[in-house]
Amino acid sequence: MDVTPETVASAVSSVASSRGRGTLPNLMAFARALKQLGIKVSLSQVLDVSRSVDFVDIGARPDFRALLRANLISQKEDFPVFDMAFDCFWREQTYERMPMETLEIQGTPTESDAPEGGDEEGGLEEAASEAMANENLQLENLDEFAVPTYSPQELMNRKDFSEMGVEESRAIARAIMLIATKIATQISRRKKVGRKGSTVDPRWTMRRSMKYGGEVIELVRRKKRIKKTKVVLLCDVSGSMDCYSRFLIQFMYGLQNELWGVETFVFSTSLSRITHLIRTKDIVNALDKISGSILGWSGGTNIGRSLHTFNRNFAPSIVTHRTVVVIISDGWDRGDVSLLEREMQDLKRRAKKIIWLNPLLASENYEPLCKGMQAALPYLDLFLSVHNVNSLVSLGRTLQKMVA
């Protein structure tokens, strides 16, 4: 959800009616405004805040801000939204209840460069109009980059699943399930009690020996557990991949619903996370949501920059030494090749495996000659083709070998 000063203002004004004179009603209203802005806040957190306001001087605005933030926010990404909402919500309140001098606050820079809720009177309108101007500017910029505009309806028609035969669709689903289970079974370092285990479990051995008067007769063993591998999907949805996109969506969707812990991203000139959009059993709705929210679908490609965004913003928390990163792209890159190479190197270091699926690989006269593909090749653990069901089945077999 994109949060602009406008949406913040509307969220704040929508809870205005429930605001009262005391601290608690106001806190509740503020929490509700945050919820509307997409920040998860639980009641216990709000109660904790109301408990903690006794400990600090809430007239001191920076302290009050720190207090609310520490209690209500639990990830750094939400800070900019929180700051905007805080400025917007508690400003009006301050006029009623607090002396003017506490109003001087230091604006925390927001990541999106969006104008803040304003520190002075009438800042709201200004911020709103500025935001409008900003938005227009962005739209103009987009035009310059010649990203094709689209109507969601049209997109839906073009990428409709119904075009795919039922048989084919089913076959794909089966193949995906096979792949998913292959990826999902990996040995864990945690152990459980099992008859054929390799190490002795002293705790249980001791326990069992009690019934023989302390004589160790049975050895209880532990064996390794099977652990799930995480998968990150990075799908190219630029113009050159258009003819595969129906298949891609089904692949992303299928994998994410079969496996626990799949993160899905799509990229063209920029990167967007769509995990939350396809976390549903309702595929038609999911499609609707995706096409409604991804700008630059069927646009140009900048793999390097997209990977850079991924490495900077998402990889630290998502990619670990047991994550398999699957990139699906034809490798036609219009961006900076050296950046692509550096980012591939970075990613390689973080991830367990990198698999690149290239739909073009199947055609006989294809060689990975384009610069982007060339740069990425040394960092790949697997370079495979995906263009039909058979290739998916062979992908499943390869994964099985790799994980075992």
Binding site: S52, A70, M206, G213, T320
Partner: protein, 306 residues
Amino acid sequence: MDLKQLTIEQVQEILLKEKYVCDRSLATVVYLSLVMGKPLLLEGEAGVGKTEIAKVLAKVLDAKLIRLQCYEGLDANTALYEWNYPKQMLRIKLEEVEHGDKAKVETEIFSQDYLIKRPLLEAIQTDGANPPVLLIDEIDRADMEFEAFLLEVLSDFQITIPELGTVSARHRPYVFLTSNRTREIHDALKRRCLYHWIEYPTFEKEYEIITTKFPEVEAKMAQQICAFMQKVREMNFYKRPGVAETLDWASALIALNRKNLDDKSVVETMGCVFKYREDLHHLREQVESRQLNLDTLLRVSPELVS
């Protein structure tokens, strides 16, 4: 220390006395965590002083520091308690030789004497005037199962040992959790904690940190170090250096008796700041190709308002 009398300013002050420089918002959060008895989850890049603050606090509160370093596969046995099996075994053998009472042995070998306390149980059972500081370090390295288990301990501060019964905390320990964000912590755990993200320090703050830790450092060089660190954190390195690296570097330069930074000494001592071959290589390239011009960087380093 009487917590009821504590103020945010005092927190900042006592931390500074132990050479920990912290800004107002961090001090506020630490203060709240102390007075509310709520665990504090600290996140931030590596080397910004997440672990350090717990250590320093234990010192100033005159409390015992109990540290639980998390790793993958960490389980309840290693974190909570374990029975001392060899000792139990020996005891049983001994009784056997002496033809002791079987029922008596059975109850005895499951008593406190045969219990090995691991960090979490220790934190809950600690005697003494002050509650201990429990530092659960790098929680992101442990797996989800452990997190769920921790949730239970942190909400009630009591542990049930089937053979002994329930042990509850005499004093609620001050709990600090740190995470490097190599994965996301579960919401349920986050909700039980106060949250703070420690940023890389600003130029002024980093300068203050260096001069607090090393009062003997030349002001000029300290400024140069800070300017350099600020610059490289903006650049594209695999591992951006934290405050820990800054301090390492500063102490190295002091040990080498440098009063001033120049191209040569930067390249020579870069091993303190960058720990990856690619990063060192990248830096050398940048210096050689004059992309990163040390002369201008060091000259224009912002002057401090004294």
